[in-house]
Symmetry: C2
Subunit: 409 residues, 2 copies
Amino acid sequence: MMNKNPEIGIKPATIGVTAAAGFLAAGVACGVRYEGRRDLGLLLSEEPGCTAAVVQTTNVLKAAPLPVTKEAVATGNVRAVVVNSGIANAATGRRGLEDAYRMQALAAAELGLEKEEVAVSSTGVMGEHLPMDRIEAGIKEAVASLSESGSGFAEAILTTDTRTKEASARVQVGDKTVTVGGVAKGSGMIHPNMATMLGFITTDAAVEKESLQSTLRRATDRTFNRVTVDGDTSPNDTVLLISNGAAGNTPLTAESPDYPAFEGAVEAVMRQLAKEIARDGEGATKLVEVIVEGAKSEEAAAALAKAVVGSPLFKAAVYGEDANWGRVLNAMGYAGTPFDPEGVELYFGPIKVFANGEPVPHREAEANATLAGDEVQVVARLKEGEASATAWGCDLTYEYVKINGSYRT
Amino acid sequence: MMNKNPEIGIKPATIGVTAAAGFLAAGVACGVRYEGRRDLGLLLSEEPGCTAAVVQTTNVLKAAPLPVTKEAVATGNVRAVVVNSGIANAATGRRGLEDAYRMQALAAAELGLEKEEVAVSSTGVMGEHLPMDRIEAGIKEAVASLSESGSGFAEAILTTDTRTKEASARVQVGDKTVTVGGVAKGSGMIHPNMATMLGFITTDAAVEKESLQSTLRRATDRTFNRVTVDGDTSPNDTVLLISNGAAGNTPLTAESPDYPAFEGAVEAVMRQLAKEIARDGEGATKLVEVIVEGAKSEEAAAALAKAVVGSPLFKAAVYGEDANWGRVLNAMGYAGTPFDPEGVELYFGPIKVFANGEPVPHREAEANATLAGDEVQVVARLKEGEASATAWGCDLTYEYVKINGSYRT
């Protein structure tokens, strides 16, 4: 049902944050919050002289690691990331900021790097301080266990996620093959305007810094920012993209003939991670894909699609496998984008349910059947223009309520 | 815990839509969707020459009755309302609009009024046509059973609501006592920007039309628009205010010395109805009141308070009786209003949990205990200015998911 992008490699040995040449990673258990689960990840480019780009949350409240990472990307050549799960280091005041700087300094010292070469990230519960002795021990252990496998890192960044999320893509740039790999974590507190809590993307392409930043911004808007689980935008959201040039290509800029191919690879990796985040939303049983076509701009199409995937009423109906198209139309109606409801055609899978301002006669059981699987697709065709956009979400379930009624305890 | 407004009378015999002099109402069962439950309501002012004001949904999709009622309020002297529950007459095309006009005409004919004196309203499922033969029979029965009791009307407008919502207030205007009464229905698809699906407010005060409209607008913004159950704004939302002058006061305008007292009474009635809607949100077990103080404007305070009551993560935590203040702060952070998080003081009931950018040490069990009852109050004090606002919502429960996973079936 979903479009699978053919260029995405799903070979276990090569996906994820170490798929691109020259990247090593580790994930260790240091007991940040729970015993015996990986909760500290480390990522390193063996190549120096990397360029990096970052997109962070729009929340007024920003977790302590965010300014530290922003400063590193702005002033240094970030080539390493240290990240913990379990405690978000958010709403932790001056001590929280000191802890984030200390994580950076500890990782830099162990790796023999400048502080400005290390990005820092945290995810987990808010309002608690990090156990810095355990973090320190974890960093030492992680440095000692760096390898070409990204799977430990992918595990170490999870919170209520039920599975790891990794992807990769390869494209030709001149006479070189470049690889883009990535890892993400999501689950709860997921909403457009920095959707995912954490995403780390790596590439062995050599890319000029400003181009890299604009590519990350654009790809984030089209992928992670098109996902909603629950409308809650977290203070920790960060997507970081590091390029190390290990592929040996002539450095790319936005003007390079092969740049669209590279940008497409970045977007493809991030799109797959975004869909995995939606599919693994807290309590989710179904991935929901909403496609809006015929809008007057991509922004309008995206706003309409995001309103639908974000509607609790629609999400509950999907869970109940009730093809309640009225809720789709209703959510589009409050998206803040003008359109003519009479010009809308609505489809649940292949079943047309609404057109010309009225229900299209159809067998309800047939429409409901389009919701029976674990991937659901709803399409809205407008008569406003030529633009389209896709947004991803999940159903709203008892389990979501259960998880979030007792997350801290 | 909540401030009870002392001027609101809770005497069963006098509250509701017939509390003001000269109003009659009826509620009958005509089988719009279910057998044996009241589903058609009729409201009439015995006094002619009423003035009326209306505020309707901001949803691009507007149910068929909305333009009919808007036109009546604009061109006529609305003194009667006919309303059905069960079917929303939304997304029903040309036939839906014809049905709404026909409901108006049928009620006008039975009551011996001009069509423009009758407002029309519907609530229920979208995308289905009204059974006009039953509506017609119901209107006849309702006209025959008009009385000074508003309780049948209050019942007839309910859908998934679990109880009726009525209120009234009395104030002195010159040497006359004027009464404001009201009824509302809410439950699901409830969100700021016309919060409640339906509210009908009546007063025996004589009030000039433009003043009445601005009073309704302002009171709606401060009451119904401060309620959220699930973030879904319905296409049927309507609040109608009718004044019939039966109190015999010199007609009020916005400049009258007693106007603030009258406006206060309208707002008090609507506030009580708004809180009842929040308390009776689909699946709700708790009324949640969030007060934001020290904001730089009432709009900013309202935006912050509404973001908190609207956060699914916060709502689920309230259900789980987990005083997860991080989710309060986080929701404020994405409200779209700038503020300094370091300047925020957060309280769960009387327990201070956050100040100066850090958690305030407190016993978690004590903070959780503030969530144990059926009314929950959270206060956020900012250091941005002098303005404050209150918003109301409810917890997110398994039952909400259950109701909305199977509403149509």
